[in-house]
Symmetry: C2
Subunit: 339 residues, 2 copies
């Protein structure tokens, strides 16, 4: 009978027993750094194979508190947002190429959950962390920075804290979108923002306002709506905008999910884009071209953000004294037919 024991995880002790050596020797064989007699090595390797031995990562981490555990943490605010999924892919490709496993935590824009996950990550003895903090004054994340754990922030920075950072030119990106709308002749341009406390939301609002100002368009605060970055809230906010006595002729949406929510509302009302209302979104998606109509959008290099962040993190792990890097990537306005 093929019993359960066939699959039981063998330990160093069992390997040592089978090979007739001490566990120290087995460990030396595995971590090829030290001298061991070729014959002994052969015996041990045979036993390892026979028992299908795999080192226990938990024990390894406990013992090697300060050495590498080959484990990185990732903390992201919203797995439903395709932007973060692309960031994640970038991280994952670099991580697995460098033999790091990922423990991925999604806090769904919920600070309580964020705290829980940060606790868990810390007590898992990860080598380093890539995080998009809930907001600029995220004390939990700041605490981690101060603890000395290698960390790279993505998409969102921290106020008054020097930390490795990868993000995009949010202000400039938003500016290019609104500038484009203004040049096309739209006058009442609305902005549906993500959560107000997120740095990127603030930067994008700044770009929006700067662009309006440069075009001599008066800022109407009724045209600025703050959501929670979730699809449901953005459909509602878009409805509010369209219900105004003097509704906007164009909408700039602050992120992926907001764009999709706004589109849904516009379509439900049977309005024509861009004739009745134009729309530009922050965040491009690879299927933006298949939307109705093909969407004009500010493209962020999401995959590259993740890639760069992972590279920075691994560098930081290997050299904790290297100077702090803030990497600001460019955005690109993809003009299609929604404007």
């Amino acid at each position: 009978m093929v019993g359960e024991n066939d699959y039981k995880n063998a330990s160093l002790t069992e390997v040592a027993e089978m090979a007739g050596v001490s566990i120290a020797t087995v460990s030396r064989v595995i971590n090829k750094n030290s001298n061991v007699n070729p014959e002994t090595r052969a015996k041990v390797e045979k036993a390892i194979k026979a028992l299908n031995y795999r080192p226990n990562r938990v024990a390894k981490r406990l013992r090697n508190k300060n050495a590498s555990s080959n484990l990185l943490g990732v903390l992201i605010p919203d797995i439903q947002n395709p932007f973060y999924v692309d960031v994640l892919r970038g991280i994952e490709d670099i991580a697995s190429a460098n033999n790091y496993a990922l423990i991925m935590c999604n806090f769904s824009q919920d600070e309580k959950k964020e705290e829980m996950y940060l606790d868990i990550l810390q007590s898992e003895s990860i080598d380093g962390l890539i995080a998009a903090p809930a907001h600029e004054n995220d004390q939990k994340v700041i605490g981690i920075v101060n603890s000395g754990l290698p960390i790279v922030c993505v998409d969102r920075g921290l106020a008054n804290v020097d930390v490795d950072l990868v993000l995009v030119e949010n202000r400039a990106g938003a500016y290019s979108a609104v500038d484009h709308l203004a040049k096309k002749g739209y006058k009442r341009i609305a902005y549906i923002s993500g959560m107000k406390q997120i740095p990127s939301s603030q930067q994008r609002e700044k770009g929006y306002i700067d662009a309006l100002r440069d075009h001599g368009i008066e800022i109407d605060s009724d045209l600025i709506k703050y959501g929670d970055s979730r699809h449901e809230s953005s459909t509602k906010l878009c409805e509010e905008l369209l219900d105004m006595p003097n509704p906007p002729d164009a909408i700039f949406t602050g992120n992926n999910l907001i764009t999709l929510g706004a589109l849904e509302t516009i379509h439900k009302r049977g309005l024509k884009i861009p004739e009745d209302v134009a729309i530009v979104g922050f965040d491009d998606m690879y299927w933006s071209i298949s939307l109705n109509p093909p969407l004009t959008a500010v493209r962020q290099p999401a995959y590259e953000i993740g890639k760069r962040a992972a590279e920075l993190l691994i560098q930081r792990i290997n050299d904790s004294s290297r100077s702090v890097v803030n990497m600001i990537l460019k955005t690109e306005l993809m003009v299609r037919s929604s404007t």
Copy 2:
């Protein structure tokens, strides 16, 4: 100076020292199950607070080999596919409500990566695993089933292995899509499948063929294309279909990503949907209504799949002897204007 030590993780020993008791007592205070004098408890709790003590999960897992480590593994084939993201959300909601953390692994349809992640998960002493195996004869996953680790498969089953399983009626779902097309009068209906070795692809093909047969439509094997479930491959396969001397008048796409790829190709060619070619996708997305045109699709309850799987897994962890459950959820055809 606020130094690094302020944030250093305290250990049981330090708490015990500060409170003037043994580590066993501290442990008892933390794991509220056993008797300890109220005064002692107060002293210990004060020390815990003062040192900001948090139990080390790694040590806990190592010690409690057989007890709960409050850690679940999730192994998914493709994080870029919104279907799996929704499954993940369902899993995560249940997991975090039950105090389980998630270690999430995405193998990008790459069996080498899958193997690596399964190794890692096993050696992390997880309590249980939710996995979508690479294919029906995935020996690595079968090995895990045999090892006795609690596991629930989602979306894809295993041949000849009794294991908890949550999936949808793939055959019936595909049937309803193709039946719908046939009733609408389409005669040359193509199928762009995901990876051939995935059980769900096979089941959907079966549904496709059964529906055609029931409508007396002859099966043309040139109209069946097999991709790798990635966006790039599906654009190419769609091109091949449209380039045929006798091209299809309707396409049934095997999953989310394939649908988006096919749409892209059709739009690039300036073809009208559904006049020039109709399309039904397997997998609905919450923004399907915003596509051009609003997409007719077979909806899978992805979130619920994840939720049910996590519930089953937790049950299994708590009672390894309960009988195996295969849960088959219904699909729903969302008729919009792409057909």
